[in-house]
Structures are given as C-alpha cells and as structure tokens.
C-alpha cells in the first residue's frame, strides 16, 4: 500500500486515539478550583452559632479571612476569630434583630473570603447551604455588619470550575457525555448508509449501517451505566425521574427492536431493505425523545434542557470546553473505528456464508 493511501485511510483513527488519550489525561489531571464541599451544621440555632465549612483544594498561600452568610439583601459577617485547619474553616455568627424578622427561618448562601500573601482576595461559596433558625436572634438591634468592599482581585490558577454538588465529578463531562454524542453521531452515520443502500442497492452499505447501530447501542449502554453512577453521586438516585432518562430508555428499546427485527429476517435483500427503512424512521424519533422532549419539559435535571437553547455559559466554561469538545470528537472517531472493524468482520463472514451456500 502506498504511504499516502495509508495515511489517508488511517489518520482519522490515530486522531481519535490521540484526542481521547489527551482529553483523558487532561480531564483527570487538571486540578479543580478551590471551593466549599459542605458546611456543618445544616441548621444554625441558638445565639452565637458556630458554622464549620469544609473547603477543598485551597492553595497554601490563601487564608480564610471572612465568612459571610447571604440571602438576598441580608448579610451576616462572622464575629471574632476564624479557625482553619485541615481543610476546615469555622467561625461564629451573631445574628440579631437589626435586619428584621425576615432574616430568620430562611436559607443562606455561605461565602468565604480567602486572601493570599499579596493581600489579593477571592471568594468561594456554597449556595443555599445553611438554615438560620429564629432562635439565633440575640435581640440586639444595632447593626453589626460593617460596610465592606467585597472585592475580588485575585484569581486561582487554571482549573476546572468547582460547582456545588458536582465537585470533582464535573470531570465526568469528558467521559460520560461523549458516549451520548458518539451514539447519536453513529446513528446519524447509519442513517446515511441506510439511505445510500436504498438508493444504490449495495449490500455492503446495509452491513455498514447495521454495524454502526450495534456499536451506537454499545455507546448508549455505557452512557446509561456511567450516567447512573454519576447520578447516584450527585442527584442521589441511580435512575432519577428525568425526562431525558425515560426518553433514552424508550429510544434504546426502539433500537433493540431493530436488532430483533433484523434477526428474524433471513433473506439478505429483504433484511437490508426492511432494516434500512426502520433505521431511517426511528432516528428522528430517537432524537426527538432524547433532545427535544427533555427541552420542552420543565422538570429535568440535565443541563441544556428545560427551555434553554443549548449549553449556557454557566454550564460550560472555557477550561471545560477546551477538554470537552476534543473529547467528543475523539470518542466519535474511536467508536466509528470500532464500528468499522465490526462491519469488516461481518462482511467477511457474509462472504464465506455465500461461498458455503
């Protein structure tokens, strides 16, 4: 084989492997930015309540200087010393009557101001993390919250954003989500080959479409299993009630029905024609079930759904994109390669079957 042909025919496979390997490495090793993992207790009660925050990945040069509870316009700064050791930052608060009764029996976001040795500030937070009970009210009506400039002039080194609930598992975006992209693209490719079979009548195209659907199902099953583990860790259930999950389950069943249909037909021409038509019609249904239906629904957990058009800025910052997009392309290429191998094996099997007959 000429070296040019070799490169032209194999380069996409090498590209897929390189993209997956680099995004795997980057996705695992790039650190997470600092953040608050959790606070204790979840409910503050009694006068001068103490709050402990578990901070994560804070560099040694940064020290906790202030704790702040905020809910709408109401803010409470910590009183007295801040103790910090072993990733635990604790301080006490003295909520009083100065900000009205509204200040109690509500959820507060916890902020921590960190300062480095160059007196630069940066904030980490955990939204709606603590409940302030009315028993915290010490009755004092003088405001204790000094006017403060909540400056943020420092920045962390590059890293993945630290999001509440997700924490380190945000990395799964580079591994779990590309499974679904690979599945959808392989199904799209299979539709293209099915259309080509129907217009040109070459059985090889039908074998290609079939291999693509089978490997797409593999990607879908891996996507379900990995998503289930991720959902248990973040949303608290192995299979949460979510339109996207139900849509995926139904969509996969339609493709399993395809496998069943195909296995019952013995005549190659009839099998190719029927499964091509089935594959073409089921694809738009599948896309509707996993993309459009969850978007129309308002109670979905997945990002990019529930009325939003796509990935919001909040969902995907630049560091994430830098790893996520190459990962999607890489996994699509690797899965396409696996499908190509399956097709080539099936074609050889078909040929030898024809020889025997």
């Amino acid at each position: 084989m000429k070296i040019n042909t070799f490169i032209r025919k194999q380069a996409w496979k090498a590209l897929g492997l390189i993209l997956v390997l680099t995004t795997l490495t980057a996705g695992l090793f790039i650190p997470l930015k600092p953040g608050i993992l959790d606070v204790a207790p979840q409910k503050l009660s009694g006068t001068n309540p103490q709050l402990k925050a578990y901070v994560y990945n804070v560099p040694e040069a940064w020290q906790a200087r202030q704790l702040l509870l905020q809910s709408g316009p109401i803010q409470w700064l910590n009183q007295g010393e801040i103790q910090s050791e072993n990733g635990q930052v604790s301080a006490s608060f003295a909520p009083n009557a100065s900000q009205g009764n509204n200040a109690f029996n509500r959820l507060y976001t916890v902020f921590i101001r960190l300062e480095n040795d160059q007196a630069q500030s940066n904030w980490i937070s955990l939204p709606d993390a603590v409940w302030l009970d009315s028993s915290c009210n010490n009755g004092d009506t003088t405001a204790q919250l000094a006017a403060n400039s909540y400056n943020q002039d420092g920045d962390w080194t590059t890293g993945f954003p630290h999001r509440p609930i997700l924490n380190e598992s945000i990395r799964n975006q580079f591994f779990h989500v590309p499974m679904w992209f690979a599945m959808m693209f392989l199904l799209l490719f299979s539709v293209i080959y099915a259309i080509r079979y129907l217009s040109k009548g070459r059985l090889d195209d039908d074998l290609r479409a079939d291999a693509l659907i089978r490997v797409a199902l593999l990607a879908g099953i891996i996507g379900c299993v990995t998503g289930s583990a991720w959902a248990r860790a973040t949303w608290g259930s192995w299979w949460p009630r979510d339109p996207k999950l139900n849509g995926v389950a139904l969509g996969m069943i339609m493709y399993f029905a395809y496998l069943l249909l195909r296995s019952t037909l013995k005549d190659p021409m009839q099998r190719a024609r029927l499964s091509s038509v089935y594959g073409i019609f089921v694809f738009p249904l599948f896309i509707a079930l996993i993309w459009i239906m969850p978007k129309l629904s308002s109670n979905t957990l997945h990002p990019g759904s529930g009325g939003t058009v796509g990935f919001k800025k909040y969902d995907l910052d630049d560091t994430l994109k830098l790893v996520f997009y190459p990962a999607v392309i890489g996994w699509i290429l690797v899965y396409t390669w696996i499908a190509q191998l399956l097709y080539r094996i099936n074609r050889i099997a078909q040929k030898s079957e024809n020889h025997d007959a």
Binding site: L17, L21, L24, L28, L341, I348
Partner: protein, 57 residues
C-alpha cells in the same frame, strides 16, 4: 551516569504516582488501560486487513 539517570527518573515517577493523595496512581492506571485497548484495536485492525487481503472478493 546511566544508573543515576534511571534512578532519578524512577524517583520522579514514584513522586508523581504518590502525589495528590495517590489519585495520580488511579489516573495512571486508567490511562494505561486505555492505551492497552487502543493497541489492541490497532492490532485487530491490522489482522482484519490481512484477512481482507487474503480473500479480496
């Protein structure tokens, strides 16, 4: 000279593996598993190519 270089390389590798509370050891295992599967895919591809050449029908 050579053993010294090897020793310092191995020390650097061990230092990498045990840092981040040994998370790097897990990440390295994952990367190696992927490399193994990737090499296997390449071998499988070449084997199938060989069979295709044998019987170019």
């Amino acid at each position: 000279m050579m053993p010294n270089l090897l020793q310092s390389l191995s020390e650097a590798a061990v230092g990498f593996l045990v840092s981040e509370a040994k998370f790097n050891a897990t990440a390295t295992v994952l990367v190696l598993i992927f490399l193994g599967i990737a090499l296997y895919l390449i071998r499988l591809d070449r084997k199938i190519s060989a069979i295709e050449k044998e019987d170019p029908s």
